[in-house]
Subunit: 325 residues, 2 copies
Amino acid sequence: MSKQVTIKQIAQYAGVSEATVSRVLNQPELVSKQTIQKVKDGMDELQYRPSALAQSMRNHTTKTIGVVISNVLNPFFTTLVRGIEDAATKRGYSVIVCNTDENPDKEQRYINMLVDHQADGIILASTGNHANYHSMVNDMPLVFIDRMPQGKDANLYDTVLVDNEKGSFNAADALIKQGATRVNAIVSPVATTGTERLNGFRKALTAHDFPIREQDIALDDYLGQHTAELALNLIQTNQCDALFCGNNVILMNVLKVLKEWQIGDMKLAVFDDQPWFDFVQYPIISVDQPAYLIGTKAFITLMDRLANPDRPVTHDIVRTKLVIR
Amino acid sequence: MSKQVTIKQIAQYAGVSEATVSRVLNQPELVSKQTIQKVKDGMDELQYRPSALAQSMRNHTTKTIGVVISNVLNPFFTTLVRGIEDAATKRGYSVIVCNTDENPDKEQRYINMLVDHQADGIILASTGNHANYHSMVNDMPLVFIDRMPQGKDANLYDTVLVDNEKGSFNAADALIKQGATRVNAIVSPVATTGTERLNGFRKALTAHDFPIREQDIALDDYLGQHTAELALNLIQTNQCDALFCGNNVILMNVLKVLKEWQIGDMKLAVFDDQPWFDFVQYPIISVDQPAYLIGTKAFITLMDRLANPDRPVTHDIVRTKLVIR
DNA sequence: CTTGTATATGAAATCGATTTCATAAAGGCG
DNA sequence: CGCCTTTATGAAATCGATTTCATATACAAG
């Protein structure tokens, strides 16, 4: 292992002190032209690169943030993460991505890890089962995305969310306007989003004077193990002609059932939009969330908070767009 | 900012030296039972968590690896990344994901960043435009995935790849067996994969005594700006009845064209498989790459290399699976 | 009672940077 | 020419851990 080139060797090479080398990098206006040249020659010659680790140690900033989401495999989160990464890179930040799989323990462990690594902040789609974030992160800035924070610390933190209720209302409303007579729903009761989406769904039914039957609504588990079963039950028992899916994973499972049982006639709506919806034989109605934008906004919010820790908490709600096919 | 609890404060609390506190964590067998208890009490009381930064500084290992890919938004890479992350988490490693967008400069910058952060290693789907990896990473272990390394250092590094040629051969072969009479191809000339996939495609044509016409093959740019145009040209000019797409992004763009021009009859094959292919009206033939497995294998290879820097270079080729619909 | 060996602990060096404080040289001014 | 202010630089402390080396105590063996 050819060992790493340190500031010491540059100092030696240039015949100056380490302090001077450091100044060449950070406050060159304090150093004479000739010395700067000597030092820079040394850096080039020895291919010096300052240790980010040592800098973090001294400066108490790692230029690293954590992103805690349920699963990068979910394209909504993928896009969101990409939004964060692009914004972060532009500002010289690195991103550590953590998948909780909706498991609160995993979330806890990842947050601890990020605290240990002294991340400068965390962007968090929380499972929502933590009472006291503040004691977990010890003053590290937190930005909540996708899901509202719960517990007593909830109001301490910045959020970037979408209007789940309105989006779902619009989707269910569109199904009915397309002539659906019995609209069922499958949602995932994850954090705050499930409830909000269900509320929107219910309100749309009510607005159209549709009765709300509890057997028309199925609650999925996040992992999607039983989605197919639930869907089949709704379809067969209730004879529904339209289905509202709480997220893209649920839709995928519903499509599987429809295909397997060769059910050709079903109006579908889903919260979240994906490009391939265009190519499916069913005309899928979707609620397009600006995932990438949520990512960049969350990152900017985090930066603002870092720059000004005492500024008032912000709550950003980004707009969804109904896509009718 | 309530400042961070350091080993010093635990030492003070327990009335011992910092060395002893450190030993409680790392070599408790050297410490007396009562002292351990005192120290542990202090840790609990003050909620001590060792600074990963300081540990990295001393131990010369960050327990962090870099993953450099073209784009997480590509579901192939998403899955791959998830495979890496799961394996890494299990071993206490964190992952920093970097998107190059096939831009060699970005790749260079990210690699530098990872070197600066003293990542323990890098898993790399390289754009392939770097002559000398070794001088870039300075003895940091590198595992190449998806694309073969090029340049003079190529044979220095472990690889985990798929058999592109065979996969493509099978896909084109299946198209022809399904009765295609004129098979065209669009591939992305990225790194080594484009050429290999094209080779497989050509061999399949030859095996069936089909002529190989160069106008039947279109080279896409990675960003997919002109894919639609190219596809339309192949379809209209060549009157092809089957199209082989070099990756899932290309397929997506082809589907757009087919939809827009209402072309109902087209046999499609694509390198890489996605769940939603099941729901598209065309019976898509696909080459399923075990992306998740590639991820875990790459991580394990990296760990092996770290454990034994001098062991011979390994070249792992994972199996693809032809999916016929 | 002395010597030798475990056992338990602490002081200090170290990792690679940054920053404060002190100092030396150079230049400006009356 | 002496005094004061810039300008340029270095020595040493610091960030928070780990590890080496030395030392002190306890206990066993002779």
